[in-house]
């Protein structure tokens, strides 16, 4: 059962690639159906895990990645169905497959330590995961913007020119995704700080709670990414950092997010290794 979402995402990715290459609308609809099926199967999986563990499966990096993939799939489906624009699917579905391999290989649910039994913890994790999903979409939009920009600038109108939506559309969607992501990132970080401040004062604090400070790599890199996205928003409004620069920035910033989420989450942090 825990492999089913991954298999459906992989099938969807294959269909999106085929659709992107040959532009057959039937294959496109198939791809949308497959990714919807994947998200549905994923919903069941997370639901089952919640019943099994008695709490939402958000503890531990692989569970968090699974929830992130699920949110990204949902967010993408929403955008595809509202904008009727399928060309992003090829990039998003590949990202879904790449990330869902981790929870598929490591499906065990970590039991929730007593210290995390707070509604603030769920809000903290869910807002951050939603923020990351938005940033992932912004990154995909940025990458496609850069690809199309290059073709038009170099006067080599070819593959992407006939397949991608106009630059202005990509730029607008990128700016929206970053605004939404930044809002949830801010909420997530603030809630996290409030929660940590609460539990630090409680008796018999967890050693991991004691490690929660700016010196912890996970927290530090999270703040760095908050800084980058804040700059992206600010620079777009005041210095005209739209278009190509915004596209590159959303790519770089998401690389930082991914680094923090996967690498730092697994190997480096002392405070977030639940």
């Amino acid at each position: 059962m825990h492999l089913l979402p991954l298999l459906l995402y992989a099938a969807a990715a294959a269909a999106y690639i085929a659709h992107f290459a040959w532009r057959d609308p039937r294959v496109g609809r198939l791809a949308t159906g497959l990714v919807a099926g994947g998200v549905l199967a994923h919903t069941f999986l997370i639901g089952m895990q919640t019943v099994q563990a008695g709490h939402a499966p958000l503890v531990g990096t692989s569970a968090a990645i699974s929830a992130f993939v699920w949110l990204l799939g949902l967010a993408y489906l929403y955008i595809e169905l509202t904008s009727d624009e399928r060309s992003m699917g090829v990039f998003v579905s590949v990202l879904l497959v790449g990330l869902d391999i981790i929870p598929a290989l490591d499906p065990a649910i970590t039991p929730r330590p007593p210290v995390l039994q707070s509604p603030l913890f769920t809000v903290h994790v869910m807002s951050l995961l939603f923020a990351y999903a938005s940033f992932a979409l912004a990154c995909v939009l940025g990458v496609t913007y850069a690809l199309l920009f290059k073709e038009i600038k170099a006067k080599q109108l070819g593959f992407f020119y006939t397949r991608l939506p106009p630059l202005a559309t990509l730029d607008l969607m990128n700016s929206r995704a970053i605004t939404v992501g930044w809002t949830f990132l801010t909420i997530g970080v603030v809630v996290g700080v409030v929660w940590a401040w609460q539990v630090k004062g409680s008796p018999s604090p967890d050693p991991r709670v004691q490690a929660m400070s700016l010196a912890d790599p996970k927290i530090l890199v999270a703040l760095v990414s908050w800084g980058i996205y804040s700059f992206a928003l600010f620079a777009r409004k005041t210095a005209g950092w739209s278009g190509r620069r915004a596209a590159y920035l959303s790519g770089i910033a998401f690389a930082v997010v991914l680094l923090n989420f996967v690498l730092v989450g697994y190997f480096l942090t002392a405070s977030h290794n639940f």
Binding site: L148, I152, K153, K155, L157, Y161, P165, P166, L167, A168, T169, A239, G240, W241, S242, G243, R244, R245
Partner: protein, 437 residues
């Protein structure tokens, strides 16, 4: 009555033969009159282009096709053996399909070329003016025009390649999306500037500003394009607010230099700028293309795109063929439904004959009435007949199934003993168009 298409084209005949078989040499009207004089077909259209010679004819038997085929050699005074093996003959729906494919440019040497539709229209015009066409060919050719238009608007077959202006607009749309809210600046007020301006205007851009070295010519073009004229000294301001800039001046030195555009981009806060340089020699320094968020295309770049589009047309063939299929089906259905028309005409004639007979019979009694009253009687009886026939006529015309048509015709013939009127059916063809319209 059957429809035939007989002809030869670049697909079947060598160029020497196509040069010899030229119905346009003495005018299409001459060929039509000659062919009609031989009684070859009841309706005729002759189509002649440098790549094809075709005759569309309506006749009663397959001999019509024979006649028309022989006309190809007889009219040009060459042995028929030279022509016969290169001729193709299509009948009924196949003939319609052939014409539709021709009109859509699917049968052309350069697939999708738009001129052929105009040539088909002209050929039909000549035949129609000379009254060689009637119901069948009228409908056939109007359907062919529909196919041509649909293929052009619904597929990419006729797309992009036709003009440099179109390529520029497609690019602008790929950069800005919808052009509705965009501002355009045109530098220069010559013919090229005007043409591009008209194309941009058709995209409903927000505003068109025209700047030229002489304000008066700019104002002239501005009036034509519903835009505003700006004095030459103030183009930097206009550049700051424009999204699309078209340069078409006759200047020998670049009008837009790198430093100038760098300066402008600072004021624009880096909003994308699409510069289309259609002037020769160029109005824009090529280095401008290196500025971030500036997209610079000159006339040669656009021509290259046009060439590439030409190559890509092939991909749209299947969609165009589907449109042809659809219209052939419609035309065939109409052809079938039409066969009820002689019966309808006979029925109407029968009713009218009865009315006249009754009026004649009553003539002694009516003779005493004043002329206005007599006219009124005539009018009222005519209206009654019209009213009685209205629903049956509509119902009959709606029947499209061939077996049903035969059944209805049979029933009507018996009920109103129309059979003896049938031979008058031919004389009634003039009335057909009135009934079927």
């Amino acid at each position: 009555m059957r429809l035939f298409a007989v002809g030869l084209s670049h697909r079947t005949a060598p160029v020497e033969l196509r040069e010899t078989v030229d119905f346009a040499r003495k005018g299409l009207g001459h060929a039509l009159a000659e062919l009609s004089g031989r009684g070859a077909g009841r309706e005729l259209v002759v189509l002649a282009t440098c790549n094809r010679a075709e005759i569309y004819a309506v006749g009663d038997t397959d001999e019509t096709a024979e006649h028309v085929g022989r006309f190809f050699s007889e009219y040009h005074e060459i042995p028929h053996d030279r022509v016969r093996e290169h001729l193709y003959i299509y009948r009924g729906p196949d003939a319609a399909r052939h014409l539709f494919r021709v009109a859509a440019g699917l049968d052309s040497l350069v697939v999708g070329e738009p001129q052929i539709l105009g040539q088909v229209k002209a050929a039909y015009g000549v035949a129609s003016d000379g009254q060689f066409t009637a119901a069948l060919t009228n409908r056939l050719f109007h359907s062919a025009f529909t196919v041509g238009k649909r293929v052009r608007s619904e597929t990419g077959l006729g797309e992009g390649a036709v003009s440099v202006s179109y390529a520029a607009i497609a690019l602008a749309k790929k950069i800005f999306g919808d052009l509705k809210g965009r501002a355009v600046l045109i530098l220069g007020a010559g013919e090229m500037a005007k043409l591009t301006g008209i194309h941009l205007q058709s995209q409903h851009v927000k505003q068109i500003t025209i700047a030229s070295r002489t304000l008066a010519t700019a104002q002239g073009l501005a009036a034509r394009l519903d835009g505003v004229a700006a004095p030459w000294e103030r183009i930097d301001q206009a550049l700051s607010s424009a999204d699309i800039v078209v340069t078409a001046t006759g200047a020998s030195e670049p009008v837009l230099t790198r430093t100038r555009v760098d300066e402008v981009m600072r004021h624009r806060r880096n909003r994308p700028l699409f510069v289309i340089d259609i002037a020769v020699p160029r109005d824009v320094d090529p280095a401008v293309g290196q500025v971030d968020q500036v997209f610079l295309y000159n006339i040669d770049d656009l021509r290259t795109i046009v060439q590439e589009n030409l190559a890509r047309r092939g991909a749209e063939l299947a969609r165009a063929e589907a449109i042809v299929d659809e219209e052939v089906a419609k035309y065939s259905a109409w052809m079938q439904s039409r066969e009820i028309v002689p019966t309808v005409v006979a029925l109407r004639q029968r009713f009218e004959a009865i009315r006249r007979a009754e009026l004649e019979r009553l003539e002694p009694k009516l003779a005493g009435l004043p002329p206005e009253a007599r006219a009124r009687v005539d009018e009222v009886t005519r209206l009654i007949v019209e009213k009685l026939l209205l629903t049956p006529t509509e119902q009959l015309k709606a029947v499209s199934d061939e077996a049903m048509i035969v059944a209805y015709a049979d029933a009507l013939n018996r009920l109103f003993s129309l059979a003896q009127d049938k031979d008058r059916g031919q004389a009634a063809t003039e009335e057909e168009s009135e009934v079927s319209s």
